[in-house]
Each structure stands twice: as C-alpha cells, then as structure tokens.
Symmetry: none
Subunit: 186 residues, 4 copies
DNA sequence: GATGAATGAGACTTCATTCAT
DNA sequence: TATGAATGAAGTCTCATTCAT
C-alpha cells in the first residue's frame, strides 16, 4: 500500500469515527504511520486532503451507480438497480458513507455541490431527466428528486447501522418501494 | 434581552452561517457583546452551550409541531398539518434550521438521538404508531418513518434556501404529497 | 459560626487538601456557601485571605507552644514539653499543619519569615537563646536550631499522617530524643 | 544545547525564583526562546514538564550521592561523605535545590514519593538499613532517618542561601555532627 | 452585611503547517 | 520521497475581582 493510500484510508476511518473537526492532522499522522512532511507532499493542506478524498469517493460512487443497470430493463427496475447499487456501496463501506455524511454538512461542501453534480453524476441526472420527460416520474425539480433519493438511501443505511444486521430482502424492497412511491408519477 | 439569550441567539446565527467548528468562543464573545466569563457562567463549556441550544430548539420544535392539528381532521390532513408546521418553522427560522443540520452531523449528536425522541416528540411518535395500526401508514419502523419525514422537509427547505423565494402553494402541496406517498399505505 | 469563620475553615481545609494553587476563590465560594462579595468584604484579596489565616495560625501555635511549660522543670524537660505541644497541635489539626506546610513553600512566605519570628515566638527564641548561654545547647545560630526543631516535628507528623495511627509513647520519646540529641550540648 | 535542555534549564530557574504557580508556560516560552509547540513536542503538558524535571533531578541527586564514598571508610565517615555530597550539590545548584523544595510541597509530589525512593536511592536505603543492623544507627524507621537527613541538609542550605556566604569548614562539621547525633546509636 | 452576575486578562494547550535534513 | 523537530497563531477555559442590588 502506498503512503498516499495509507493517508487516505486512515483519514476516511478517522473522519467517519470522530468527525471532520476532531480529526486533526496530528491524529492522521499518528494513525497512518506517515510523517507530517509526507502528507504535505501529497496534499496541499488539510482542506485539499479532505476534498480530494471526497472527490475520489464521489467518483467511485458514480462508477458503482450504473453497474449492472441494463437499459433494456423497465424504468422502475432500472431505478431499483440504481438504488441498490448505492445502498450496498454504503453498506459495504460504512466508513466512506459516514465520511460523506460528515463532509456534506460542512461549509466546505456548499461551494462544490453544483460543480460536482455535473461531472460524475451526469448519467444519474440524465436518467432522472429522462424519467420526467417520459412521464415515469413527477414533474419536480431534478435536484429535488436526486436529493430525495440520496436522503432515502441514507435514512435506511443510518437506521441499519445502529442495529448492524442486514435487513431481509423483503424489507429492503419495502424501503425502495417507499422511495419510488415518493417520486413516481401517479 | 438577558445575557443568556444574547449568547444563544448569537451562537445560533454564527453556527448557522459558519458551522460548529468555525464558530469560536472568541467570535461568540465578540458578537454577543458578552464577556468570556459570562458565557462560562451560564454554560459549562462550548459543548454544553451547543447541546443546550440544540435541546431548547428541539423542545421548541416539539411544541410547534402539534399547533392547529385538529384530531377531527382526516389522518392525511393531520399529516399535512404536521408537515407544514415543521416546514414553516424552518422557513421562518432559517438559522435554527441550519443550526440543527450542523449539529445533527456531529459526533455529539449520536448519543442523544434516542433519549430526546422520547421526550418532546411523543405526540409525533404516537401519531405515526396510530397511523400504522389503523392501516393509514405502511408497516415500517416508526423510527424510519419519522426520519423520512424530517428528511423530506429538510430536502425541500434546503433546496429553497438557495433560491430564497417562497414556493407557490401548488408546489408545496406536491412536495408534501411526495412525502405522504412514501409512507402511506396502498 | 460567622461567615468569616466559615470562609477561614473552608479555606484551611481546601488548601490542606489541594494546595494553595488549586484552591481557587470559586472553590472557596462554593464550599463555604458564602458569596464572592462576602469574601471580599472580609478580606482585601486572595493573598490577604491566605496571609491572614497564616498569621492567625502562627498566633495560635505561639500560644499553644508554651502551655504547661513550667520554668521549674529542667531545661531538657521544658524542651520535651515544647516539642510535644507542637507535635500534638499538628496531630490534632492536620489541616492546619498542611496549610502551614503549603504556605511555607510559597514566594509569599519569604518576606514574612523574619517579621513574624519576632512576634509570637519571642518566648521560643528566648528559650533557645537561654539554652545556648547556659550551655545546655550547642553554640549554633538560634535560627538554625528553631528551624531544626520544626523540621523534626514535621518529619514525624508527616510520616505518621500516612499511616494514620498514633505512635506509642515509647516511639514518640525516641523521636523527641533524636531531636534533642541534634542540638543539645555534649 | 538542545531545545529540550533550554526548556528544562529555563524552567528550573523560573520555578526556583517564582514558584511553580507563578511560572506560566508563557514565561517559559519567552525566557527559553522556544515556541509553545516545541514544549508540547517534548512534554505532554505542564505537569509532565515539571514532573520530568523533578525525576531527572532526583536521578542526578541519586548519582551524586555516592560519589567518593569509599566502603573502607568508617560508617560515620561514609555518612559525612553522603551528607557533604548532598549539601554541595545543593550549594552548587541552588536553583535545583529550590525547584525541588517547591515541587515537594505540591499535591503532585504525594503520589510519587515512595515509587521514587526505591529507584535512585536504593544505595542510600541500603546504607541506612545496614547502619541500623550493625548498631551504628538507632532502630528507627528507615524512612524517618532518610527524611531527617534531607531535612537537616535543607535547613542548613536554606539558612545559608539567605546570607549567600559559604560557611567555614568548622561550622559545616558542626552541622553534620548535629545531623549525625540525631540518628547515631548511643 | 450579603449576594451573585458580570468582567476580561491571562492561563494552558492544540492546531495546521514549514523546512532543514 | 520521506522525516519529524519546530513554529506561533489561535483555540478553550479559569481566574481573581468588582459592583449594582
């Protein structure tokens, strides 16, 4: 594992456990077993480190989102696939999930939101846009729908995190259905 | 206005604008025109200050939630009232809304979530429980439904905050309907 | 018990337990159940409070020192009486003993040492001076002898404090003899 | 001279002159010409700094104590050597002497006393124990005898410090004799 | 006499960051 | 690339003290 990777993995874990604020550079240095100088060799400063991690996570999420989503499937089924991809990514990477949650509630996040929406999530945006135009989805702002889906997935992930058990498929279907019902056209 | 209130109002505003981390005690001292000692006279430390404000806001929200909700109304209409109460509380108190959002994403928040749910939000919990039992709502965890409603309101509030304009009644109804559709029995 | 006395007793106890430094005015206020204003009504400031207590303790010690010391006794027996008076005063008032020990090691103490020696301890000084002149004691500085006796008593008191049991009379005699042997003429 | 040493030397001097309490970190920073961060790089906090210095001084004292003490000398002469070693260490290092005096009267000191006695002072303890067993010294607690010797040396050092002049050899002998007489068997 | 809310200087400590090696 | 000693600004909090009631 490269030094750069040690730094990133350690930071994700620390931020997920303690929050952005409590994760000091000193702590990252100690836990990642890397010197201060090395961190500043790879990253301009703390903000840059955090932002870089966030960007890479967004990219990773963006890639995973579309996996196995077959355009031949019905719109609803494609939606279910998207939803599950996101859900299982968070379930398998709880630290990454929490990192993103912590980051999102930071003043740092505000500026970026829009810029990033247009890079890795173009396919998701297009999918929603297409759904609205075709009448599968309600005519509500694309941004609203996107945020809502994220919120639904997050609520489920967060709720389960506490109990630690994986929900039965039946329950999962119910949660996705709940999400689908909030945006599907009627 | 008492000193204690000056401190609280100033802190809410600063946190909502700059975040928990960037709101230093020094800044609170300066902006609230109160001495350091006075803050520590009323609050044990910064954590206590933040937590106390959060608790008081939760209590305030709890009280507002049930205003004008008539038990003679249909279940759905009662739900719409609840939703609007929460929504307009946030719209009228954007600083309080943002304070809560900032706080919620903090390690501090984790411990409390459940304790507090059971104090000021009993009526909300009862309402959801009743809805499930009567078949108005899906048989999903009460906690999930509660979190979902908050999430829906938050997404709408957050989205509008950016534009600053109040949405037309028609749009608002659409958002509430979206929220309702995600939990109502079918 | 007067407020002034409450303050003094509380302060003696706190200082003896936590030291001069750790005994803040806030702590005295809390423990003595007296308001800040009241303390500053009776004492000019913290230094004055501490110094006043110390002075009163010195006076108390000065009075106790000569109790039951009969001039008809042999010089050695008079010495034993003095020694025991001091010893039992400290044993019965461990907080006062510790207060004095804490105070003595303070920059505050330096200035006073000489001034005070000449007030409440004149009889002790005279006694030592007399002993030297009569050849009972070695021809060493009076100040040295005085300090040595205090040191001997303190060492015994401190050592016993740890074990909390009162030493048998036989042991006590041995300690006094040790003290006596260090100054008696040979 | 290393930074760590600059910090230690400066702290010893400041504490000896102003006491533990009045020696603020800010003052140490200023006088040692070292940054705040550097102090906290070498020491965990102020307590740790003070304690570390104290421990190192104890160790230094422990080493000096036995210098030039020849086992072929008579027990009494060995005692005189020990006494002089301690005395001249304090005379040559008045700041260290005063630092130790200040520290010893601190709540911090209480816990350690025993632990430390058993590390650097084993030879001294053995010496006293041996003296008791061989009948050179009175059958009194070893701890008492050790404390007494320290107390005697301290009283002399303290008394002289005020006058600043070195005492004539004749006087020094008299002080050591006084100390010896308080513990030697008769 | 007595209260305790209010003060603000200054205490200790942590922080992100730099730079000589 | 990598290290970690060194920096000093800025953070949180405690302190002795005052004063209107």
């Amino acid at each position: 594992m490269t030094k750069r990777n040690q730094i990133i993995q350690t930071t994700i874990q620390l931020v997920s456990e303690m929050g952005l604020y409590a994760t000091s550079m000193a702590l990252i240095i100690k836990e990642s077993k890397v010197s201060a100088g090395t961190i500043y060799h790879y990253f301009k400063n703390k903000d840059d480190l955090i932002r870089t991690i966030y960007d890479e996570l967004r990219e990773e999420m963006g890639k995973i989102l579309t996996q196995g989503v077959d355009q031949d499937l019905s719109f609803k089924n494609q939606f279910f696939m998207f939803w599950k991809n996101l859900f299982f990514f968070f379930r398998k990477n709880p630290h990454k999930f929490e990192f993103i949650e912590h980051y999102a509630s930071t003043p740092l996040a505000k500026e970026e939101v829009k810029v990033i929406n247009q890079s890795h999530y173009q396919s998701a945006l297009d999918f929603i846009q297409y759904g609205i135009e075709m009448g599968y989805l309600r005519n509500l702002p694309v941004e609203y729908i996107i945020q809502l889906i994220f919120a639904h997935v997050s609520v489920v992930v967060r709720m389960i995190s506490v109990n630690e058990e994986e929900p039965p498929e039946r329950m999962l279907q119910a949660y996705i259905q709940s999400s689908w019902d909030s945006i599907r056209n009627t």
